[in-house]
C-alpha cells in the first residue's frame, strides 16, 4: 500500500529525513519511535503533504500512485489521514460543517454524489457514538476551547468519518492522561480493519500497550536504524534510546 524509498526531506535548508525506507501493507500497524528531534513528526508531515518541508530525494508510492506529486487534499481523497499532534483551533467553523465539506469534497473526487443533510447526520452520529464523542461538540467551532483529550478524540472521530486507507497518528498520546489515552486508543482499535493500515508515531511505549503494533521502527537522525516486532518497543521502554544511539555512533565511527 505504502512504499517509501530513500525519502529525503529538509526544512529551511536543514536536512531532517536522510533516506527513509519503509513498506506498509494493508491491515498492518507500524509504530515509529525515536528520541526527540529524530524526524518522526517530519515523516508524518511529509506523508500528509505539509508544504514547509521540501522533499529533496527519494520516492513515495501510495496504492500504486506517486504520493509526492499530490496536493494535501488529494492525498486525503486518496485515503491518507493524519491525526495531528496539535489539532488546530478554527473559530467560526463548526466541526459538523467542516466535516460535511470534507466528506463531500472527497466524494466528489471519488465520483460519488454528495451526501444529503439527513444521510450525513446519521452517519456522523454513528461514528461519534463509536469513538465516544459527545454530540454537543459537533456544533461547536472546530477544536475551539476543546480540552487536550477532546481535541485528540475529535481527530479519531474525523478519522472514523473519513475512513482512510492509511491513518498516521502523530504523537496522539502527547498531553493525554491515562483515561483519555485509553478512550482514544479504543477508538483507534475499533477502526482497525484488514484493509486499513496505521502508522503510529510516538515517543513513548505506553500508547503501544493499547494500540499493539505489528512492527516497531526506531528513527534516529533521519534514518530508520532498527526495526523489529512489538517486543522492540518494550526493550526501548526498559533501556531508553541510549543503546540505539551508541550502536549507531559505533557504526558511523567504523
Amino acid at each position: 500500500m505504502l512504499k517509501i524509498n530513500d525519502l529525503r526531506a529538509s526544512i529551511e535548508g536543514k536536512e531532517i529525513l536522510k533516506g527513509i525506507n519503509l513498506e506498509v501493507k494493508p491491515g498492518e500497524v507500524h509504530a515509529i519511535m525515536g528520541p526527540n528531534g529524530s524526524g518522526k513528526s517530519t515523516l508524518a508531515s511529509v506523508l500528509a503533504g505539509r508544504e514547509e518541508y521540501e522533499v529533496t530525494g527519494g520516492a513515495v508510492e501510495f496504492s500504486g500512485k506517486d504520493l509526492l506529486e499530490m496536493a494535501p487534499e488529494v492525498r486525503a481523497a486518496e485515503g491518507i489521514f493524519l491525526a495531528f499532534q496539535y489539532p488546530v483551533e478554527i473559530p467560526g467553523v463548526t466541526t459538523i460543517n467542516f466535516l460535511k465539506t470534507a466528506v463531500n469534497e472527497i466524494r466528489k473526487y471519488q465520483g460519488l454524489d454528495p451526501l444529503d443533510a439527513a444521510q450525513f447526520l446519521k452517519m456522523v452520529r454513528e461514528k461519534a457514538k463509536m469513538v465516544n464523542m459527545n454530540d454537543s461538540l459537533l456544533k461547536r467551532a472546530l477544536n475551539e476551547g476543546f480540552s487536550g483529550g477532546e481535541k485528540k478524540r475529535n481527530e479519531i472521530f474525523q478519522m472514523a468519518v473519513l475512513e482512510p486507507k492509511l491513518a498516521i497518528l502523530d504523537e496522539t498520546d502527547s498531553g493525554l492522561d491515562i483515561d483519555a489515552l485509553r478512550i482514544v486508543s479504543e477508538g483507534v482499535n475499533k477502526l482497525r480493519t484488514p484493509e486499513r493500515a496505521t502508522i503510529v508515531v510516538t515517543h513513548y511505549q505506553r500508547l503501544l500497550d493499547y494500540i499493539v503494533p505489528d512492527y516497531v521502527h526506531v528513527l534516529y537522525k533521519g534514518r530508520i536504524v532498527k526495526s523489529g516486532p512489538k517486543e522492540l518497543a518494550l526493550e526501548l521502554e526498559e533501556k531508553g534510546y541510549d543503546w540505539i544511539k551508541a550502536e549507531v555512533e559505533a557504526e558511523t565511527a567504523q
Binding site: 494535501p72 487534499e73 489539532p87 488546530v88 478554527i90 467553523v93 467542516f98 470534507a102 466528506v103 473519513l162
Partner: protein, 439 residues
C-alpha cells in the same frame, strides 16, 4: 485648455448662493442661517487634503475631480425598487433616491404613536422645537468639511422620533439609492434620530448604487439616545466601483442607555465612515462592530471615536477587514476617557487579513485617558490567513480554495452574526458568499 472647468467646491458654493437668491422669506429663517454659516466654513476650508491628519490615508483628490448632479431628477420606479429588494425584509422601509425622500416608494407600517418618520424638511416645519434642540448638536460644521458641506445643503433625509416608553416592533430600514444610470449624481442626506426615554428601536441604513456613472454620497446622521433607551443601528454599504461615500454618524448616549452598531462595507470605490459616540451618562453601553471587504482598487476607511465623559460606562469595539487585490483599508479608532469618567471600561480590537501583496491596511488605535481608575485595552492585528488552519483543512480533503472560503466566511461571520435583523443578516451572508466564491 478648457476654461469651463471649475472645481467642485466653487461649483457647490455657487449653487448655494443661486438657490438662496430665489428663496423667499425662508432665507431669513434660523435654519437657513445655520446652513449659511456652514457654507462659510466649507468655503473657507475646502475639501481635506492628506496633510490633514484625519485624512492622511484617504485622499479625496479623485472624488473632487468630477462634477455631480445634486438632488437631480431620477427615473427610479417601483420596478427598479423591486429589483433591489432584500428577501424577507419587512418593516418600515424608506427610499432616499439621489438624496430625495421618496414617500411614494416608501412603506411605513409602525403606528404613528410608536414612531414618527418624516423627511427632514417637513420636520423642520412641523416639529421645529425638536429640530432646533437637536440639529447640529453633535455634527459640528467646524470640525469637518464634509459635515459643513452636508449642513449647508441639509434639506432632505430622514427624521425619526420615538416617543418615551415606545418599543418599535418593526425595524426602520433606510435605503439610500444613487441612480447613476444617466449622469454623475451627488447627495447630502441629513438624518436626525431622536429616541426618548425607555424607548427602543432598530434602524438600518443601506446604500446602493445603480448605473455606471459616478456617485458621491455625503451623509450625516445624528442619533440621540435618551435615558434607558435602546438603539440598534446598522449601516450596510454595497455600492459600485465608481461610488464615493463619506458617511458620518454622531451618537449621544446618556444614563443607562444602550447603543449597538454594526457597519458593514462590502463594496464601494471610496468609503469613509466616521462613527463618533459620546458616552455622556453613567452605566451606558456602546458596541461598535465593523466589517470591510474591499477588492479591486476599492478603499475603505473607518474612523471611530468612543468619548467617555461620565463615570461607569462601557464601550466595546470589534472591526474586521479582509483586503484583496490592490485594495486599501484604514482603521483609526480613538478611545477618549475624560477626567470625570472614572471606572470606565473601554475595549477595542481591529483584525485584518490581507490576501494580496498589493493590498494595504493602515491601522491607528489611539487612547487618550485622563482618568486614573479605568480599564482600557486595544489591539490590532494584520496578517495572512492562518497557514496551519489551511493545512489542517486540506489534510481532511478540503481544497485550498474551499478552505480559504470557509476560513474567510468564519472570519466575517464573527461580525455579521451581530446583526439582529434576520433578513439583513441573511442578505449579507449571501453577498459575502458570492463575493468569496467570485475569485
Amino acid at each position: 485648455m478648457s476654461t469651463e472647468t471649475i472645481d467642485l467646491k466653487t461649483r457647490l458654493v455657487t449653487d448655494f448662493y443661486a438657490r438662496e437668491a430665489v428663496m423667499n422669506g425662508e432665507a431669513q429663517s434660523e435654519f437657513h442661517q445655520t446652513k449659511r454659516q456652514a457654507l462659510g466654513i466649507f468655503e473657507d476650508r475646502g475639501f481635506p487634503t492628506p496633510r490633514n491628519e484625519e485624512w492622511k490615508y484617504s485622499n479625496v483628490r479623485d472624488l473632487i475631480s468630477h462634477q455631480y448632479q445634486f438632488a437631480g431628477e431620477h427615473a427610479v420606479t417601483e420596478e427598479v425598487i423591486d429589483s433591489l429588494r432584500i428577501a424577507n425584509l419587512t418593516g418600515n422601509i424608506l427610499y432616499i433616491v439621489n438624496g430625495r425622500f421618496e414617500e411614494k416608494l416608501s412603506t411605513i407600517v409602525s403606528p404613528a404613536d410608536q414612531l414618527q418618520i418624516k423627511p427632514l424638511h417637513e420636520a423642520i416645519k412641523e416639529r421645529p422645537e425638536l429640530v432646533s434642540t437637536y440639529f447640529g448638536q453633535l455634527a459640528k460644521s467646524e470640525s469637518d468639511s464634509f459635515t459643513a458641506l452636508n449642513t449647508a445643503f441639509a434639506h432632505d433625509g430622514v427624521f425619526i422620533h420615538v416617543p418615551a416608553g415606545k418599543v418599535v416592533d418593526h425595524p426602520v430600514i433606510i435605503r439610500f439609492i444613487s441612480d447613476a444610470r444617466a449622469e454623475n449624481v451627488g447627495s447630502n442626506p441629513r438624518n436626525l434620530f431622536i429616541v426618548e426615554q425607555n424607548a427602543q428601536v432598530k434602524i438600518a441604513e443601506s446604500y446602493r448604487t445603480i448605473g455606471e456613472e459616478r456617485s458621491f454620497t455625503n451623509t450625516v446622521t445624528e442619533i440621540f439616545v435618551a435615558e434607558s433607551a435602546n438603539v440598534e443601528y446598522y449601516k450596510v454599504q454595497n455600492e459600485a466601483e465608481k461610488a464615493y461615500h463619506v458617511g458620518t454618524t454622531h451618537v449621544r448616549i446618556v444614563d443607562n442607555s444602550h447603543f449597538y452598531s454594526a457597519t458593514v462595507s462590502l463594496n464601494g470605490g471610496f468609503i469613509r465612515n466616521n462613527l463618533n459616540i459620546e458616552l455622556d451618562g453613567q452605566h451606558c453601553e456602546a458596541f461598535m462592530y465593523g466589517l470591510y471587504f474591499p477588492d479591486g482598487k476599492q478603499h475603505v476607511d473607518n474612523h471611530t471615536l468612543a468619548d467617555h465623559r461620565k463615570p461607569n460606562s462601557y464601550s466595546n469595539e470589534l472591526y474586521k477587514g479582509v483586503l484583496r487585490d490592490r485594495s486599501t483599508g484604514v482603521f483609526n479608532g480613538k478611545i477618549f476617557v475624560r477626567q470625570d469618567a472614572q471606572k470606565t471600561n473601554a475595549y477595542q480590537s481591529c483584525k485584518n487579513v490581507v490576501l494580496s501583496p498589493d493590498a494595504t491596511m493602515n491601522t491607528k488605535p489611539q487612547l487618550e485617558i485622563y482618568a486614573d481608575d479605568v480599564k482600557c485595552s486595544h489591539g490590532t492585528t494584520t496578517g495572512q490567513l492562518d497557514e496551519e488552519a489551511l493545512f489542517y483543512m486540506r489534510s481532511r480533503g478540503i481544497s485550498k480554495n474551499e478552505a480559504m472560503t470557509l476560513l474567510m466566511y468564519a472570519f466575517c461571520e464573527d461580525v455579521v452574526s451581530q446583526i439582529k435583523i434576520d433578513a439583513i443578516r441573511e442578505h449579507l451572508e449571501g453577498v459575502i458568499t458570492e463575493k468569496l466564491t467570485k475569485k
